[in-house]
């Protein structure tokens, strides 16, 4: 057999919606994580409950991977359609596993050097359990073909189906075992791609960006979330609603996004750390509330998990096209902070850091992610989620002791050098105060007087200048000097990093400049970083290269080229590499 490749492959499980592709894909990914492998699990599904092609793509490696990758080595097809749809991704020496009752034309596969591994999957499922377990059979077969010990899959089956009772667990185990044995016997010996447990691997969590963000928020003291379900942000409130009651997390599934935002503002006004989570369409509804928070200087954390737009767009697909909207949303001018984590670990940190920023500057803070980062599963070192490193900093929020010492009338919007006023909440006798969305004076009472208006505008906007001082400069990955710099933000960091690694390994020269704090733009640092690059290519999942525009608007610097993708599918590293090659050849990237 041609050279065996161990622990470096991608598997796709594909089928119709309703066949359990997501849950079995996630379960499968977990078995590999438990075996010490690094996993990157990407979902692809449509906005429907039944029908239409769904797939789960799992990348396995002994190294940390921040992106999926497109040569796929094993396709588990639960429908005949799956074979056609993923044909082009299959690498030479790869295989397609499918129920033997499907009629698949072997020619196109043979041409690509891909095997057709038919197995009586449905029959095995029906014999040992029931037809619904066809996907379990497919996964068992996959383990067999790659000669990966079944025990890891078995442990996941036990955990996942425990709630359904022992009979269901046993049935699934029997199905998996039968399929495993048959597949290994028939096809295992001459399949080049193998998977084996990694000895001595540290404890790793398999989690997605939403879960990490929610966990970070909880650790940061958030105890109120109001939200309206919207893909791909829904799992933020769902995860927080499921944590044990002892934490005291109050969750409210509100009647709409306007209520969600207003509730978070109300809770924050009363003194809680409060947040909401939504996607672009929901954020559109929250625009007015953003202004309320900004004008009345109430800390507010909003998670905006972007998806394909405009309007209903591609509800289950990824994009990063809301950047300029989020930065400018709502009428008038007021300070806000916008930050975009690029990895699951960065999501955890953004979760708690957002609250510190919101309370230090008493303004809205928007944490931007996207479908890819929010829902792709990745193995993260358990130690990288470090609760001891979480800081809770409430800024100039007055403690009870400080309130007790207040002498003359408390002024909620007291003018200060930084523009940030000492903050009290309703409840203490010394700090009875008013807040108004109308223009107001230091006491919070309504006034349209022009001198006061000028002072208040300067006060509020001055906070932006203060916040800029602590906005992080873009971070550089790779060699300090390179021929190409991939400029990116959000989840695009993952495939950019992989692309740069590939380019450098192949003898080329590339590095990655990742922006995370996006508003206020740390202008000096941004200009210096961009200025030090030879050739910059902005890699973004949107049509208009919004980060590039933002950088030009603030620093005056225009990137040399742009590489855009707006088909709702996440960048694969190969696409970026190819895009760069085109750029070199023609001066246009994409």
């Amino acid at each position: 057999m041609a050279n065996v490749v161990t622990n470096d492959m991608s598997i796709v499980i594909g089928g119709d919606a309703g066949q359990g592709v997501e849950s079995s894909g996630a379960g499968f990914a977990l078995s590999f994580a438990r075996a010490g492998l690094h996993v990157f699990g990407l979902q692809d599904y449509r906005s429907r409950i039944r029908g239409g092609h769904n797939f789960y793509q799992i990348r396995l490696s002994e190294q940390q991977r921040l992106s999926h990758s497109n040569p796929v080595h094993l396709v588990l097809a639960l429908t005949p359609e799956t074979v056609d749809l993923h044909l082009d991704q299959l690498a030479e020496g790869g295989a397609v596993v499918f129920p033997d009752k499907f009629e698949i034309d072997p020619e196109p596969l043979k041409k690509r050097g891909v095997r057709l591994d038919a197995l009586p999957l449905t029959r095995i499922a029906e014999e040992h359990g029931n037809r619904v377990m066809t996907n379990t059979a497919a996964l068992g077969a996959a383990a067999g073909i790659t000669e990966f010990p079944l025990t890891f899959m078995e442990s996941v089956i036990r955990d996942n189906f425990a709630a359904k009772g022992e009979q269901v667990v046993d049935a699934n185990l029997r199905v998996a075992e039968a399929a495993y044995k048959l597949a290994r016997e028939r096809y295992g010996a001459d399949f080049r791609f193998k998977l084996a447990p990694v000895k001595g691997a540290p404890r790793r969590l398999l989690m997605n960006g939403n879960e990490a963000l929610a966990m970070g928020a909880l650790a940061g003291g958030c105890r109120f979330i109001s939200a309206y379900p919207m893909t791909p942000a829904t799992s933020v409130i769902e995860w927080l609603a499921a944590v044990p009651h002892e934490y005291g997390m109050v969750t409210k599934h509100s009647e709409d996004e306007i209520a969600a935002a207003c509730m978070a503002i109300g809770a924050s006004f009363a003194g809680a750390r409060a947040m909401t989570a939504t996607s672009g369409g929901g954020f559109s509804l929250m625009a007015e509330a953003m202004g309320l928070a900004g004008m009345t200087e109430v800390p507010l954390v909003i998670v905006e998990a972007q998806r394909g737009g405009p309007s209903t767009g591609l509800p289950t697909r990824t994009e990063q096209s809301d950047l300029l909207f989020v930065i400018h949303a709502s009428q008038g001018e007021f300070p806000r902070i916008v930050t975009a984590p690029g990895t699951v670990e960065e999501c955890f940190e953004a979760g708690w850091r957002a609250f510190n920023l919101a309370e230090r500057y008493q303004c809205p803070v928007v944490v931007m992610t996207d479908t890819c980062l929010a829902s792709s599963l990745r193995t993260v070192d358990a130690d990288a989620i470090d609760f001891a490193a979480v800081e809770i900093d409430r800024g100039p929020t007055l403690t009870y002791e400080e309130l007790n010492r207040l002498s003359d009338g408390y002024r909620r919007f007291q003018l200060t050098k930084t523009g940030v006023s000492p903050r009290a909440f309703p409840g203490h006798p010394r700090s009875v105060f008013a807040s108004s969305s109308d223009e107001h004076d230091e006491t919070g009472h309504i006034t349209e007087e022009n001198d006061n208006r000028r002072r208040m505008m300067r006060k509020r906007m001055g906070k932006l200048g203060e916040a800029e001082k602590e906005m992080r400069p873009p971070s550089l990955y790779g060699p300090e000097k390179a021929d190409f710099t991939l400029v990116c933000w959000g989840s695009t960091y993952g495939p950019c990093k992989e692309a740069a690694d590939e380019i450098n390994e192949a003898g080329g020269s590339a590095n990655v400049l990742q922006f995370s704090d996006l508003w206020p733009v740390p202008e000096e640092a941004a200009a210096a970083a961009l200025g030090g690059c030879r050739r910059t290519v902005a890699v973004e999942q949107n049509y208009t290269s919004q980060l590039a525009r933002l950088l030009r608007m603030t620093t005056g610097i225009q990137v040399d080229a742009t590489l855009t993708k707006y088909d709702g599918r996440p960048f694969a590293p190969e696409e970026i590499v190819a895009g760069l090659e085109k750029e070199v050849a023609s001066g246009h990237a994409a």
């Binding site: 005291g248 509730m263 809770a267 509330a289 001891a388 809770i392 409430r394 009875v432």
Partner: protein
Amino acid sequence: MVTRLDPKLFDATSEITWCAGCGDFAILKALKLALADLSIEPHQALVVSGIGCGSKLPDYMTINGYMTIHGRPLPVATAAKLANPDLHVIVVNGDGDSYGIGGNHFVQSCRRNPNITQIVENNQIYGLTKGQYSPTSDKGFVTTTSPDGAIELAFNPMSVALAAGATFIARAFAGEPKHLAQLIAEGIQHRGYALIDVLQPCVTFNRVNTYDWYRKRIYHLEDEAYNPADREVAWEKAHEWEERIPLGVLYRVDGLPTYEDQVPTLADGSPVSRIIELARNPRPQQYESLKDGFL
């Protein structure tokens, strides 16, 4: 009504911008009196309003006040109460703010039963924007946006609240401030969502529904041996309008759990008390077990 605190505690020096003769003066006075009577001090209460003439009410009081955006005081107030259940939370807004743009939150609040009180300044017109018709304007009401007379049926807050499950529904008249103050106090004391719809003449822009117009129609349910626990009779009364308008508590049910009562995570603290504690003592170890779900 024996006043326990001095209502003047709630007075403020801000210039009141309401027109001479506006019914809001009576509502402001009645609210101060109700709070004083219940011995609720300014720092123990939070008045949340929307946008409109009447929504400026918190600006004219010494009390914790939050003048928010049009139609949205209810979600703000509901969450403030969840975050700190010790606050007495009162929503004050107009008929347009509550029954028009805020209609969704109004209906949801009726079935949600948060322990807050809502006073609606119902003048059947949009005053601040100078005289357009409102959700409670009668059909045929002529204004600049209804030059041929309002086409829709008037919104009926009494019947909508009853249908949506509200546990305390009352109606008052600004021309009877003492009765109004009593109803406000009852509403605040009621455990659950309390709606007090206040018929309140807009003397500048509404030349139809004047003090006299209301005076000719209103009558008191208390004077008729009325049982506010009877839902069927309440439904009938809720539809009385053209010739007779009932005032008083239309419907009430006591003893039902409030929304907050049923939130298990409020049992041992509130979002406000918890962050105060966590800021002092973060105890990061408490979260380690959450990792188990990802292994």
